[in-house]
């Protein structure tokens, strides 16, 4: 059931360093590895190339890393919570809710700021968490989460928010607004800055810390509700806690990088294939793999379509799905 996780985790860390180093070199400015090391060790903001490296490229890469890690962990938790490997982080309508929040701002507040406060991420976070709340209320019965009902509620409420978002798109009228709404929904890291990085970082840190204590409960939950209860697990409370962590993480990522698909569905699967279902290192590995996956996708996006890059949500599916199909076939044979 379980294989040693440490070698895999170390391999992931190594890959991360390589991807970060390569990622730092891709952009409009010519940069070298010696410039990168100079910028990291003796940062001089007067040098435009160093400024670009530290203020633009590095936060972008770190946001990709955190978003990938957040979505992968969140997907892992959702799959454990409802005990269904088809679950993904957007199960509870987070993506469509976030999109609805952001579209509302794009349509009705073209200035995008109120007293200097940048609205889209806030609105997306509100939309994402608000929708999640509605789904949970509809999907729970007397304080207990009923997985099947939760899945259905997620689909239904998701359809509703998607339609409302569609209505706003229809009302948006100008081409620029339409483009903004569309591109937001495909996800991207172009607005990354040091100021926003603490939010996903803290969410991920707190989430992983809590999960460190929940490790055994998480594995018991995978045995199914009846056996987990028989083995003394407070199933209802565990599910609520997982739900809270997962939706907080997803909401944070969606608010800052848009609803990037596919990562949260697939990375948990790959994790379990490689390490087994109950390994202690599963969550850390899942986070690292998710981060690396989005780093790689962002790198490809920027290499394929400079300078702005393809929306990363397109790349995750374009490159992720063939790989996933390959794994499925290989596992089946």
């Amino acid at each position: 059931m379980s294989r040693p996780a440490l070698p895999w985790i170390l391999a992931c860390l190594l890959l991360m360093v390589v991807l970060l180093a390569v990622g730092l070199r891709v952009g409009s400015y010519e940069t070298s590895y010696s410039l990168i090391s100079r910028a990291l060790l003796h940062y001089n903001p007067q040098d435009a190339a160093q400024l670009v490296l530290i203020e633009l490229r590095l936060p972008r890469l770190l946001l990709a890393l955190l978003a990938g890690a957040g979505l992968a962990v969140s997907g892992y938790l959702m799959q454990a919570m409802v005990n269904n490997s088809l679950a993904d982080p957007y199960l509870l309508g987070t993506a469509s809710g976030g999109a609805l929040g952001a579209s509302t701002v794009f349509t009705f507040f073209p200035a995008l700021t109120i007293t200097g406060l940048y609205l889209p991420p806030l609105a997306a976070l509100l939309g994402a968490l608000g929708t999640t709340l509605v789904v949970v209320i509809v999907g729970s019965r007397r304080g207990r989460i009923v997985p099947a009902q939760l899945l259905l509620a997620g689909v239904a409420v998701g359809s509703l928010t998607t339609s409302l978002g569609g209505l706003l798109t229809f009302l948006a009228a100008t081409e620029e607004k339409l483009r903004t709404i569309t591109f937001w929904a495909l996800g991207g890291f172009d607005k990354a800055s040091w100021a926003i990085l603490p939010y996903p970082a803290v969410a991920l840190g707190v989430g992983l810390l809590l999960l460190g204590f929940l490790h055994n409960s998480l594995n018991l939950l995978l045995l199914g509700e009846e056996r987990a209860t028989a083995l003394g697990l407070p199933v209802a409370r565990t599910r609520w806690l997982l739900l809270l962590i997962a939706s907080g993480l997803t909401g944070c990522v969606v608010a800052l990088a848009g609803p990037i698909g596919f990562v949260g569905l697939v990375v948990p699967h790959i994790t379990r294939w490689l390490l087994g279902t109950v390994s202690r290192g599963n969550l850390v590995f899942c986070a690292l793999l998710g981060g690396n996956f989005l780093l790689l996708c962002d790198l490809l996006a920027r290499l394929l379509y400079p300078p702005a890059g393809l929306p990363v949500g397109l790349v995750t599916a374009l490159f992720g799905v063939p790989f996933f199909v390959y794994l499925l076939r290989k596992q089946g044979s």
Binding site: L56, L112, E176
Partner: protein, 305 residues
Amino acid sequence: MLRFFRSVATARKLLPLLLLATACQPEKPATTEAAAPQHLRDDLGRELTVPARPRRIMSLAASMTEMLYAVADTATIVARTQVCDYPAAALRKPVINSYPLDIERLVALKPEVVFTTEGITSLTDAQRLQELGIPVYYQRYTKVEDVFRGLNDLGRILGRQPQARHLTDSLRAELGRIASATPPTASKPRVLAITWSDPIYVYGQNTLFTDKIALAGGQNAVVEKFAQPYPALTREYILKLNPDIIIGGTFGKMDSTFFRLYPELKRIRAYQTRRIYRVTDDLMSRPNPRVVEGVRELQQVVSGS
């Protein structure tokens, strides 16, 4: 600064006079009624057949409505779209929603030909209209000269050649005066024109802006050719461009919105020298008979007066 206001004022005065002049031409007697229909090829290379002297016409683009008002007999214009707001006389025409296109209402008004601009009306909509027997004529403008040619083409199709010729001659003369007023400096300031701030969209190399800013004595900061006319740019790309001038709003407005969102961009020369300007939206974005007025406005921006 005073000179700027005065010249804009003259340009503003000039155009209604021209319009009046064209509108006052006596109509020819209807002897050409029986003339053979015109077989035309529009700017996109699409072939279409238009009556010899269309008496019911309309446009599906705000800029094209301005073109029609400058050349056509205004009584023949049967409708406008919700975005057509110039000249003021256009506001009195019935409104047809252009996006999404209200085909039923359009057909009910029985236009004999519909004019539009590339990129504004979808080819699918045009195809639908053609199937319903309404030819759609597209124009495309990449240079200021194309706008003049477009006006003359409209004049030819609508049987209003002298009016169109008169208008374009005076517009060309006006443009010549602007060119002679532009000091022949060695360095042409590089101007970045921003259309949207999130994501950052700008006027690319293959837009009319490139020619207009060149005529005004500057150059489009975006030299690279992208597939889209209005490419999305990264902050890094704009830092590297380091434009001398930015068009997109007043300095105060841009400082509190754009540069608040992207503080790293405060390093660029345009911000450091506060050469950030607002220009009239419609003059900037619409390829219309007021194009020369737009060039004049850009010239004020470039010369910094």
